[in-house]
């Protein structure tokens, strides 16, 4: 069955503070060399979905710079391929309040396509997933909308955009939105499948009634008020919800755990990203690197433990970093000592500086800062 994709690039921007100040959630760096959207796009192309719209709201310069024509994902196609759906791009609408309004302004993109189904993906949850399985399950179930869900996420504290409860036959018995659901609920991974015609119809109707919130006004409203059949597809692989700074911090360091690392990268599907011409990592005479993820282009003379070192990071002699995320091209000066710190791109830490965060509140330094 033919399916097209929609990727929402800005969903939780506000909750990641400094890190999403000047970039979309989708272009948040992850795992040494990736951006979050690499996972969504790679899942799509690996599942044979080659016609994708990326819906952006603001700060999308770095995103467009990263993805370009989509060549790395083999999406620079004559037919289909990648389309950027930026606000104001369609003429009649400005910025939007929610995903339904965004889809409404992308209506001509949807209308001019000829795929039968649409898979809609947020960029906040990282996973390696075969979307064809979801689409096939959607078709087999005869559901109006299928939502991909994950167990073990709801804990009564974390607020979920959408949570569902299922009975023993995997039928959805309850749908809740913006709810700190308890353990009996499964969390939506922000991945939805609908037929293109139904999606268009529902979007037009919702927006006509001043409704803009996808989960509340389409999924919940459809389930509770309109008798729509909502199906849930439980995902059994690794799923990382990067919806807050602390989650992002812990999920980044989680890559050091082989189960998580192989769950994301050890699958048959390759995760593609923009490549950079970097030299392999140089480990100096006195370097000491323990339990780290290291990307190309680093020059390491100091010590790092349980940390993520992005492309082009420089670690000076006698520098120490522990439980840190050091993003692209940042420099840790000689003898500096960092614990539980996130350095955004191009940060310079002066020699001898001592920076301490905690695991619950990592210290964050914004792009280009000199500390």
């Amino acid at each position: 069955m033919t399916t097209m994709g929609i990727v929402f690039a800005n969903i939780y921007d506000s909750s990641l503070g400094e890190l999403t100040n000047k970039r979309t959630m989708a272009s948040l760096p992850y795992g040494g060399r990736y951006r979050q959207i690499d996972f969504s796009l790679s899942n799509m192309t690996n599942s044979g979905i080659r016609h994708i719209g990326i819906i952006t709201k603001h700060n999308y310069q770095s995103l467009m710079n990263h993805i370009g024509s989509g060549q790395e994902w083999d999406l620079d196609l004559e037919e289909g391929g990648l389309e950027y759906l930026t606000p104001f791009a369609m003429g009649h609408t400005g910025s939007y309040r929610g995903k339904l309004e965004a889809l409404n302004s992308a209506m001509s993109f949807l209308a001019q396509s000829n795929e039968e189904y649409v898979i809609l993906v947020d960029s906040g949850v990282l996973c390696t997933m075969d979307f064809q399985k979801i689409i096939q399950a959607h078709i087999a179930s005869g559901a109006d909308i299928t939502v991909v869900v994950k167990d073990g996420i709801s804990n009564g504290k974390k607020q979920l955009d959408l949570a569902v409860k299922m009975d023993k036959e995997n039928a959805v018995t309850d749908v809740a939105v913006d709810y700190s659901a308890g353990e009996t609920y499964l969390a939506s991974m922000g991945i939805y499948v609908m037929s293109r015609s139904l999606l268009m119809q529902e979007v037009v109707e919702a927006v006509a009634h001043n409704r803009y919130h996808f989960e509340r006004d389409l999924v919940l409203h459809g389930f509770a008020e309109k008798g729509m059949k909502v199906a849930a597809f439980p995902f059994d692989g690794v799923a990382l919800f990067n919806e807050s700074l602390t989650e992002f911090y812990h999920n980044s360091l989680a890559l050091i755990d082989p189960e998580v690392r192989h769950g994301l990268f050890g699958q048959k599907q390759t995760i593609y990203t923009k490549v950079r011409d970097e030299v392999p990592v140089y480990y100096g005479e006195c370097s000491r690197i323990d339990d780290c993820i290291v990307a190309d282009g680093c020059t390491l003379e100091g010590a790092a433990e349980h940390s993520i070192l992005f492309r082009g990071v420089k670690l000076g002699e006698n520098a120490k970093v522990r439980n840190c995320i050091i993003m692209q091209d940042s420099v840790v000066g000689e003898g500096a000592d960092l614990e539980c710190v996130i350095l955004d791109k191009n940060v310079i830490v002066r020699p001898g500086a001592i920076l301490r965060g905690t695991k619950d509140h990592p210290l964050v330094f914004k792009r280009g800062e000199i500390v």
Binding site: G31, G32, R33, Q71, E72, L255, I256, P258, R261, L264, F265, T270, I271, Y272, T273, V275, R276, D277, V279, P280, V281, Y282, Y283, G284, E285, C286, S287, R288, I289, D290, D291, C292, I293, V294, A295, D296, E305, I308
Partner: protein
């Protein structure tokens, strides 16, 4: 087709068998041999071209071209996927009357005269695909034009005692070449040819045609074309190159060139600012994982590796796994190799896709000043558990 003129077109000779690299070039053309963790030898001349503003490159292939062709692809990694010009792989092909292999370096260019003519170039740069170096060909071209030379040959100074191993260019004080001696017994100077030539295209074309008509010719640049130009009073100039340059035609020189990348002040500084980098085809691989039990000192480790063992003074290429307790010293490990627990690899080059099983021992240690005998494991070989590969042994 109406093509715009190109000032300078580069022709890269990549057809050589590289037989002195033995098992490493069994199924691979020499220019496609991996180097430095993520590169292949051909990345160096190709990147030099791009960084010198030359955007039209013909790559002449013949021996085992498949891997090389695939690697070059449309040239995108080197930004050579141009609408006009760009990179073109030029294998020998069947012409209407006859078909033939490339008989020699000059014949390879001769057979591609139509390709070069499409760009109507003033100058043609001839390169070979087996040297590791960074060079600004644009500076050499400026020198060539300023001196109004018919041919400019890049040279570098070698120690006089080694000069008899090279093609030596004897020059006057202005750098004009008056004599060329191939591997002279009694060298008169120390200007060794680097096998890099810039010719005026009109002159080269004429000499290629004449050379082809001579049945006794070996159709070789060094043996035939250069002497012919000298004998007819053409202006040949030497262009002195002072940077790092290494012919990686032998096992030992390939190993040495890899080791030259290491150290705080490396013999060959491969790093570069934007526009001066060495480009390579990058494969989508996750970042490397370095485990707590590993110890890595003075080494290069590329992406996509999982490292649990100890590595010293070595190059570990993309996609390798080094299990716990394995020891790698003074070695070059090519892409996608697995080194199992307890294996020891010293002074060795391990080819792509090999598996070195548990507790196997490869190579040995050498005293300071002692001639190092490098062990070599060919592509996709399996060295069984507890097996020993002696120093200098080729498998």
């Amino acid at each position: 087709m109406n093509f715009m003129k190109k000032h300078c077109v580069a022709m890269l000779l990549a057809g050589g068998q590289g037989s002195r690299l033995m098992v490493l070039t069994e199924n691979t053309a020499k220019p496609a041999v991996p180097f430095g963790g993520k590169y292949r030898i051909i990345d160096f001349p190709l990147s030099n071209c791009v960084n010198s503003g030359i955007d039209t490159v013909g790559i002449l292939t013949q021996y085992q071209p498949l891997e090389l062709n695939e690697y070059i692809g449309n040239g995108q990694p080197w930004r050579l996927n141009r609408s006009h010009g760009g990179v073109q792989v030029l294998p020998p092909y069947a012409k209407s009357k006859k078909s033939e292999w490339y008989k020699g370096t000059a014949n390879a260019i001769y057979q591609n005269i139509p390709f070069i003519e499409r760009y109507d170039p003033d100058n043609v740069l001839i390169l070979s695909g087996d040297h590791i170096y960074k060079m600004d060909y644009a500076a050499m071209l400026r020198d060539h034009i300023a001196k109004d030379a018919d041919c400019t040959i890049a040279v570098r100074t070698v120690p006089i005692e080694e000069a008899s191993r090279f093609g030596i260019m004897n020059t006057d004080d202005d750098g004009n070449i008056y004599e060329f001696e191939e591997k002279p017994k009694k060298p008169k100077s120390t200007n060794a040819s680097m096998g890099i030539y810039i010719f005026k295209w009109s002159v080269l074309k004429q000499f290629l045609i004449e050379d082809e008509e001579d049945p006794k010719s070996n159709n070789d640049f060094g043996q035939n074309i250069i002497p012919a130009l000298l004998n007819t009073g053409h202006r040949l100039c030497a262009y002195e190159f002072k940077g790092y340059w290494k012919d990686v035609g032998t096992i030992n020189s390939l190993w040495e060139a890899n080791m030259d990348l290491l150290g705080k002040n490396p013999g060959f500084n491969i790093y570069g600012e934007k526009g001066r980098r060495i480009y390579a085809r990058n494969y989508a691989m996750p970042s490397t994982f370095i485990a707590k039990e590993s110890k890595n000192v003075n080494c290069f480790i590329a992406e996509g590796c999982e490292i649990f063992g100890s590595i010293e003074h070595s190059i570990i290429s993309t996609g390798c796994t080094v299990e716990a307790g394995a020891i790698i010293e003074d070695s070059v490990i090519m892409p996608n190799v697995t080194i199992e627990a307890g294996a020891i690899v010293r002074h060795a080059i391990v080819g792509e896709d090999c598996r070195i099983c548990r507790r196997a021992v490869i190579g040995g240690s050498f005293l300071e000043g002692e001639q190092k005998q490098i062990s070599v494991i060919g592509k996709a070989k399996v060295i069984e558990s507890n097996e020993t590969i002696k120093p200098g042994e080729i498998r």
